[in-house]
C-alpha cells in the first residue's frame, strides 16, 4: 500500500506531466526513498496508481541501474569501475572492500549494513579512484582511508 505521503508526492509529479504514466520513474524513486528498494508489491502499487501494467512498469524499473528491484543494505557503496579509475588502480580499493566487508559485488553484508555495487564513471576522473556511499562522494582514494570512511555509516 502506498502511504498518504507517498501518494501526495507522486500526485505532485503527475501534475507536472501530460499523463500519469510519464511520472512512473519519479514514482519509483519516491517508493525507493521510503523503502530502500522496490518490492514486487510496491511495483504493483505504483503500476496501479499511474495506470500501467506491472510488466510494463517493471520493464522501465529494471532498465535503470539505480532502481533497486532487490533489497539492499542500509548503505549502498558504488565503486567506480570506469577507465580513469581503472588506470589509477581502483581494483585495490575494490579488493579491500571485498575483504573488509566479506562480500562481493551484488551482495549485502549479513548485518544488512552495506550493499556493494560496481558503477560506471562517477564524473570525477581527475580525482580517481572514486566511490560513492549513499549521497556522499569519496575521491583520491587510498586503501588506508577505507576504515575511517566505512565507520561513518552504521
Amino acid at each position: 500500500m502506498l502511504t498518504t505521503e507517498e501518494k501526495h508526492k507522486i500526485d505532485h509529479e503527475i501534475s507536472l506531466v501530460p499523463s500519469p504514466k510519464n511520472a512512473c520513474i519519479e514514482a519509483l524513486k519516491i517508493v525507493q526513498q521510503s523503502h530502500g528498494w522496490v518490492s514486487d508489491e510496491s511495483l504493483q502499487d505504483v503500476a496501479d496508481y499511474v495506470g500501467m501494467s506491472p510488466a510494463e512498469l517493471d520493464s522501465v524499473a529494471t532498465f535503470y541501474n539505480l532502481i533497486f528491484r532487490r533489497p539492499v543494505g542500509r548503505h549502498v557503496i558504488l565503486v567506480c569501475d570506469s577507465i580513469s579509475c581503472w588506470v589509477m588502480g581502483y581494483e585495490s580499493i575494490r579488493d579491500q572492500l571485498y575483504q573488509k566487508l566479506n562480500i562481493k559485488y551484488g551482495q549485502t553484508t549479513e548485518d544488512g549494513r552495506f550493499t556493494l555495487l560496481p558503477n560506471c564513471c562517477l564524473g570525477t576522473c581527475d580525482r580517481a579512484p572514486a566511490l560513492m556511499i549513499d549521497n556522499d562522494l569519496y575521491r583520491d582514494l587510498t586503501v588506508e582511508q577505507l576504515d575511517e570512511i566505512l565507520e561513518k555509516y552504521t
Binding site: I67, S82, I83, S84, C125, D126, L137
Partner: protein, 433 residues
C-alpha cells in the same frame, strides 16, 4: 586570458548567490534579449558566433535551433532541455559548471528557451551529481523569486518554467532522443530520426536538447557579441573550451582555455606533465568513445576540426591518458565492458556485438587469445560502425577499439604470441569463463 565560463568559479567556495551573481553582471543577457532582441535575432547572433555543441557532436548551436518551427502556427508547448547527464567515462567538465555557477546555466537556458520560444525547460542531470542538484534547486528558487523564471518574465510577456530532473542511471540517457524517453518515464532507448526532436521531441512537441557547457556560453555571446566569442579561440573553432585530463599526469584537472590550445600544452603546462616513472603512450581526446591519438599528434590544437582531421573527435574535450605502464588491451577491455553493459539492447548489432568484443578482449587479456581474434575485432569495428546500428553508442565504442588496433596492434599480438599480458607480472594461463 579570458575565462568567461569559469571566471566566477572558485574551487571549494560556494557558488554565487543570485544577488552576488547579479552584481558581477549576471542575468544581463536576459534583460538585453527581452528588451532589445527578437528570438530570430538571438538565433542569428548565436549562429554567427559559430558556437558548436560542447556535448561532443560539435553541431552549430544556432543552426540546430533554426529547425524548430516558429510563429503562431507552431506546436505548443515547446521544450528546452539541458543535457546534464554527463556520463561519458573520463568526462567531468559539466560537473564544474553545475556545481560552480548554477545561475550561469539558468541564464543560458533562459536565452536558449527565448530563442526557440520554449515555455517549459528541464535540466536532466545524472543522479551522481548530488552537490550540483542541491545548488541548482537553490538557484532555481532564487531565480523564480526574482522573476527571471515563471510568468511574464521581467514584464516582457515571455513565460518560462524550469525543472530539475535527476536520472536513475544509464549512459544511454545522454543520447538526446533516449534522454527524452527517460524524461517521459520510459526506457531510455533512442528514437528513430526523423522526426528530429526539433520538430517532434518531448511529448511529441518541438524540443531542443543542449549540453550544459554550450548553454553556459550563451549569456556571454549575447553580452559581448559573435566576433568577441570567435576571438577567444586560437583557431577557426570559436570560443573557449573546458578541457580536462585524467590518468597518470602530475596535476589532473579541468581548465577553461582558448579553443585550439595544443594537446602538448594541456598535458605539460596544465596537467604538469607525466608522473615520475610514467611515459606517455596515447590518449583519448574527448571521452571513452573517441579514437586514440599518439605521440605524433601532441602538437595538434584541440578543436573540432584538427582532431577530426587526425582521425579522431574532440568529443567532450576531457582527455584520458594511456601511460606506458598500463596495458592497452586492458584499457580497451575496460572501455568495451562499459559499452557492452550500457548498451540499451534495442538493436541487435550493439546488443550482441559489444559483449562478443568484450569476451574476445578478455581472452586476449588473459593470454588465451588466438591470431584470428584480431580479425574478428577488425570485423566488428566495421559492422558496429556508423550506419549499422540504431544510434551512436556502438560506433562510439568502436572508435577506441579501431584506433587501438591501429596504433597498439603489436601489443595485442604480443598478448597472443606470449600467452600472457606483458604488463602483468604473473605469467599465468588463466582458465576461461
Amino acid at each position: 586570458m579570458e575565462k568567461p565560463l569559469t571566471q566566477h568559479i572558485v574551487p571549494g567556495r560556494a557558488p554565487l548567490s543570485l544577488k552576488e551573481y547579479e552584481k558581477v553582471g549576471g542575468y544581463q543577457s536576459v534583460r538585453k534579449i527581452l528588451k532589445e532582441m527578437s528570438p530570430a535575432d538571438v538565433q542569428t547572433l548565436v549562429k554567427d558566433s559559430d558556437l558548436r555543441g560542447r556535448g561532443g557532436a560539435g553541431f552549430n548551436t544556432g543552426l540546430k535551433w533554426s529547425f524548430v518551427p516558429m510563429g503562431p502556427e507552431a506546436a505548443k508547448p515547446k521544450y528546452l532541455v539541458a543535457n546534464a547527464d554527463e556520463m561519458e567515462p573520463g568526462t567531468f567538465k559539466d560537473r564544474v559548471l553545475l556545481e560552480g555557477n548554477p545561475h550561469q546555466l539558468i541564464e543560458g537556458m533562459i536565452v536558449a528557451a527565448y530563442a526557440i520560444d520554449a515555455s517549459i525547460s528541464y535540466i536532466f542531470m545524472r543522479w551522481a551529481y548530488k552537490v550540483a542538484a542541491r545548488e541548482i534547486i537553490k538557484a532555481l528558487d532564487e531565480a523564480y523569486e526574482a522573476g527571471y523564471l515563471g510568468e511574464n518574465i521581467l514584464g516582457s510577456g515571455f513565460n518560462l518554467d524550469m525543472h530539475l530532473h535527476t536520472g536513475v542511471g544509464r549512459y544511454m540517457c545522454g543520447e538526446e532522443t533516449a534522454l527524452l524517453n527517460a524524461l517521459e518515464g520510459k526506457r531510455a532507448n533512442p528514437r528513430a530520426k526523423p522526426p528530429f526532436p526539433q520538430v517532434s521531441g518531448l511529448f511529441g512537441k518541438p524540443t531542443i536538447v543542449n549540453n550544459v557547457e554550450t548553454l553556459c556560453c550563451l549569456p556571454h555571446i549575447i553580452n559581448n557579441g559573435a566576433e568577441w566569442f570567435k576571438g577567444l579561440s586560437k583557431t577557426g573553432d570559436a570560443g573557449t573550451k573546458l578541457y580536462g585530463i585524467s590518468g597518470r599526469v602530475k596535476t589532473p584537472g579541468c581548465w577553461e582555455l582558448p579553443m585550439g590550445t595544443t594537446i602538448r600544452e594541456l598535458i605539460e603546462e596544465h596537467g604538469g606533465g607525466m608522473q615520475d616513472g610514467y611515459l606517455f603512450k596515447g590518449l583519448l581526446p574527448g571521452g571513452a568513445s573517441t579514437d586514440f591519438l599518439v605521440e605524433e599528434h601532441l602538437d595538434l590544437p584541440m578543436d573540432y576540426t584538427a582532431i577530426q582531421a587526425a582521425g579522431s573527435r574532440m568529443g567532450t574535450g576531457t582527455m584520458i591518458i594511456l601511460d606506458d605502464q598500463t596495458c592497452p588491451v586492458g584499457f580497451v577491455h575496460n572501455l568495451q565492458h562499459f559499452f557492452a553493459q550500457e548498451s540499451c539492447g534495442f538493436c541487435t548489432p550493439c546488443r550482441e556485438g559489444l559483449p562478443w568484443v568484450e569476451k574476445i578482449l578478455l581472452a586476449i587479456d588473459r593470454g588465451e587469445g588466438k591470431p584470428e581474434h584480431l580479425l574478428t575485432l577488425d570485423f566488428h569495428t566495421k559492422y558496429l560502425g556508423p550506419g549499422n546500428t540504431f544510434c551512436a553508442l556502438a560506433p562510439g565504442a568502436m572508435e577506441p577499439l579501431q584506433s587501438a588496433l591501429k596504433y597498439f596492434r603489436e601489443d595485442f599480438e604480443r598478448h597472443i604470441h606470449e600467452h600472457h599480458c606483458p604488463w602483468s607480472k604473473a605469467k599465468v594461463w588463466q582458465p576461461s569463463i
